[in-house]
C-alpha cells in the first residue's frame, strides 16, 4: 500500500473489514476532523479512557493538560496507549432490527507517548495546536508565564499503527425485507456545527470578531 499502516493483529479490523482503511490519508483526515480524542491506558490492569483535545504533526499525535493530570502522568511514562477518534455521522434505520446501524468515521491509533521536554519545544507544539484552530490568535495573546509552562504537560505519541473504520450510506437490508413498506427506512444525519460566538461579558464591545472565527458564525 502506498503510504499506509501495515496492521498487526492489534490494529487489524476483523469485523466488517470492508469498512476498514489503513492508508494514512484517511487516518489523518479523520484524526484532524475530530473535535477530540479518547486516550486509553491501563494502570495495574485497570483501563482508563480520558477524553481530551488533540492535534497532529505528521505521524505524531499531541495532547496536553496539567502536569499533575493522572492521565498525563501515566501515559508519559511510555506505557502502551490507544488513542481513538470517533465522529458520529448519523443513525441508519433498516427494515429489520438487526440491520440497524450507524454512520461513523473512527480511528484507533496505537503507540507510546512521551513528554515534550524543554520550554521552547512545548511552546512550539502548543503554537501549532492553536494556530491550526485559529490562525494568528497565539500572537495576539500575551506570552506564557514560566509558571504556566511548568504547570503544562505536552505529550507526543508517534503512531506505530492505526486503523480507520468508516460507514456511510443507506441501510443494507435483506432482499426480502424491502417489500416491508410499513417501515420507514433511511438515514438520520448527525450534524456537527457551531453556534455564533458568544463574547465574554467583560470584553470591550468594540472588539471585532476576528477573521478566524467568522467561519464559525452561523455555519
Amino acid at each position: 500500500m502506498p503510504d499506509g499502516y501495515s496492521p498487526t493483529p492489534r490494529a487489524k479490523i476483523k469485523r466488517s473489514h470492508k469498512r476498514a482503511r489503513y492508508d494514512k490519508a484517511t487516518v489523518f483526515e479523520i484524526l484532524d476532523a475530530a473535535q477530540m480524542v479518547h486516550v486509553g491506558y491501563a494502570i495495574d490492569e485497570q483501563p482508563y479512557v480520558t477524553p481530551t483535545m488533540h492535534w497532529r504533526d505528521g505521524d505524531t499525535l499531541y495532547w496536553h493538560g496539567s502536569s499533575a493530570s493522572k492521565m498525563l502522568r501515566a501515559v508519559r511514562t511510555g506505557i502502551p496507549a490507544c488513542v481513538t477518534a470517533a465522529i458520529f455521522d448519523g443513525y441508519v434505520l433498516a427494515r429489520s432490527p438487526f440491520h440497524h446501524s450507524a454512520n461513523y468515521r473512527t480511528v484507533m491509533a496505537f503507540g507510546r507517548a512521551q513528554a515534550v521536554e524543554g520550554r521552547q519545544a512545548k511552546e512550539d507544539a502548543l503554537y501549532k495546536f492553536m494556530e491550526e484552530l485559529w490562525p494568528g490568535r497565539w500572537d495576539a495573546c500575551r506570552e506564557n508565564y514560566t509558571q504556566e509552562m511548568k504547570a503544562t504537560c505536552v505529550v507526543a505519541m508517534e503512531i506505530e499503527e492505526a486503523a480507520a473504520k468508516i460507514r456511510t450510506g443507506p441501510p443494507v437490508d435483506d432482499e426480502e425485507d424491502y417489500a416491508n413498506v410499513k417501515v420507514w427506512s433511511g438515514v438520520v444525519p448527525a450534524l456537527h456545527k457551531y453556534g455564533k460566538p458568544v463574547a465574554d461579558d467583560r470584553l470591550d464591545p468594540d472588539t471585532p470578531l476576528p477573521d478566524y472565527l467568522s467561519p464559525y458564525r452561523g455555519r
Copy 2:
C-alpha cells in the same frame, strides 16, 4: 450524598475538582445525552478504546455488537472496563494561551461487563435500546431471526462507580489580562443537531415519516 457514587481513587477527580460531580442524576443525564460511548479495556497490558452506541437501565450500561467482536469477546469475560461518555460543547477562548479551555460534559464509568444470556433477555434489552430512540419502531419491524440473535452479543455493565466532569461558561482569565482588549474572548458553542431524515432510495415514496422522527426534522 443523597444518591451518588462514593468514588475510590480510581474514579476520584483530582484536577479541577470543582468541575466534578458524583451524583447519579448528573451521571445518568450525561450518559443518556451522549450519542455514543468509548469502551476501554486491556488485553496483556495493551489498552483498546472502542466507540460504540449504548443505552442504560438504572445503574446498568448496555452495549452490543457482533458475537465475534474483539471488544465484546474481551469485555464479556468480566475484565475491568472503563466506559467514557464525552460531549464537546464548545471552545473557550481566553486572553492568555494558558486559560484557553473547552466546555464539555463527560462521564467515566467503571465496572465489569457480562453477556446478557438467553434470547428473551437479549431481545428485551435491544427492545429498550430501540424503543428509547424511536418509540414504536421495534414493533413495526419484522421479528429477529434465530440466526441474527445468535450473531448478536449484548453486554451489561453495572456501574460500580462513576464520575462526571463538566465545564460551562466563559473563559476565566487572570485579572490583569482583562485589560488586553486586542484579544477577542468568549465561547464558540458546538452544536449537536440532526439533518432532515434521508429516505432510502428503495423506500416507497408514499411511506410517511414516522412521528418519532419528526423531532429530527430540521431541528
